[in-house]
Symmetry: C2
Amino acid sequence: MSAPEVCTEDLPGRTEIEAAAQRLAGQAVRTPLLEDRLLNDRLSGRLLVKAEPLQRTGSFKFRGAYNAIASLQEADRARGVVAFSSGNHAQAVAAAARLFGIDATIVMPADAPAVKIARTRAHGARVVTYDRVAEDREAIANTIQRDSGASLIRPYDDPAVIAGQGTIGLEMVDQMGEAGLSAPPDTLVICCSGGGLSSGIALAVETAWPDTAIVVVEPAGYDAMGRSIVAGEPVRLTPPGPTLCDALTVPFAGGRPWQVARRRFTRGVAITDDQALDAVSEAARSFKLVVEPGGAAAIAAVLAGLIPIEGRTVIAVASGGNVDPAIHAQAMMRPVAEP
Amino acid sequence: MSAPEVCTEDLPGRTEIEAAAQRLAGQAVRTPLLEDRLLNDRLSGRLLVKAEPLQRTGSFKFRGAYNAIASLQEADRARGVVAFSSGNHAQAVAAAARLFGIDATIVMPADAPAVKIARTRAHGARVVTYDRVAEDREAIANTIQRDSGASLIRPYDDPAVIAGQGTIGLEMVDQMGEAGLSAPPDTLVICCSGGGLSSGIALAVETAWPDTAIVVVEPAGYDAMGRSIVAGEPVRLTPPGPTLCDALTVPFAGGRPWQVARRRFTRGVAITDDQALDAVSEAARSFKLVVEPGGAAAIAAVLAGLIPIEGRTVIAVASGGNVDPAIHAQAMMRPVAEP
């Protein structure tokens, strides 16, 4: 495990996150903060779920992508954008670019799920496929960027992207108040891949909830952020093989996210595919939400007992819902305790 | 087919619906109005879905139940409430009663789904079961009401219940504005059983959207409201047998709802179980919503081509998400066009 380079560039502050919220108003869904009383009874605590599967394009990624494109200088934006992603970031950049009426080129692995490639194309993006083993997606994206003058929209290590994801935190603070919950939550549980989502939310809630524990959740074997927190420095893992949590497979902590994590994240926990599937099922039963396995990671950590909840208030962020229908059906058929 | 008695008592007005919204603030979820750009492309129109599966207890029924209980005189409320229902109204009344700290007795058929009985009990209600063939649930509820002094919370033919459901209409008018849609929708599509939901919404949007067509959707064979509109008078049907849309099996138009329907509803359409299952699947894929077959009826009518949408803006109300997990899994495995 070698440490990736540590970014020392600036992070978005409260002002940038509030500006992102202004830009996203009327474009992004203000997703609800959901709660199920019967599940709370079973957990002997209070679990609130931020429902980002309901976000435009089915994941939180739209927030960061839209804010990043909106933040470009107009002349730069007119030359279009390029991104690399096998999934949710691809659709988010494609959809946001369409709203601005600009070209988007998305570099996707040739073996990405056909439906994700098709949906990215359907949003009007040009999709360039590459061989995941033989080719380097960043190099391809860089070439496109240089040839076309298009701006690269990074998936997580970008202040505008982090600020966009941070708008979730601003909404949650408001929504807790609207629900009559004046005390900050004890714990905030957030799934983590590169760390754009968790770092953005952590920055957004820092003033309102300074004492709230922030726990990140990763698939076992991809738990680079959790291990980095333990090590006190960023570590890079060798991916162990496939996981159902295909949205959470970045094997190192992103540069800027790590700058937030090192001082603000309490710890990381790792979950199994089975725990993710149990959470997909529970999210459908108790919250009526379709969540993809990676998107259900935070809920999974709570249900699996990895996050103390008895007598506490815990917010879990459900980050996306772009799940293969067959996998969702498989999750729904798993045996569970009812109600 | 004989006509049920026509109710001539008063209906809630704008004032009562706004008062209901005040009572529900902080108690009910302000459910989002969702849209999927790719589905719109496929439909060549604009489909917005009001997401009531995300409502507390998983259906819109919580709104009416809570408002009805909140509207009782305090001394009456203290004596508790009673209701009869095999499903969503049962859980809604039980959950609302718990919030007020009062007793609830729910009369449910002995053959109701075990999970629905269990969930109603889990909300703290006393459940009295009866034989659907040999016994009369209204008579049982009336006896409990007389013995205990509990107030009967009717499922749809009650001004306070209709006002509660009407709050959905107020929210939709606001949400269309927030989404930058200044023109009223061309069509509002709402599922219908007794008619509390559709009549409440129709009353709520009457001033803002006077020219919007209101189409109600019922399961084939249970389409009493649609046939009543054609006949110009309420008709009662003989239920043809089971339907997957178990939430929509009232075989006649409710008294007060009919008073709204006769002057405000444009027409009714009937859907099949297969069309409902296709809509359950599409709601999961495009909106990330778990919807029960009856709750997906309005979406089903649009997808099946029964509601013109090309070049138009249509709102479909998704009314509930309390679906048997195996049925949901079955829906997800159906072949569909992607994306």
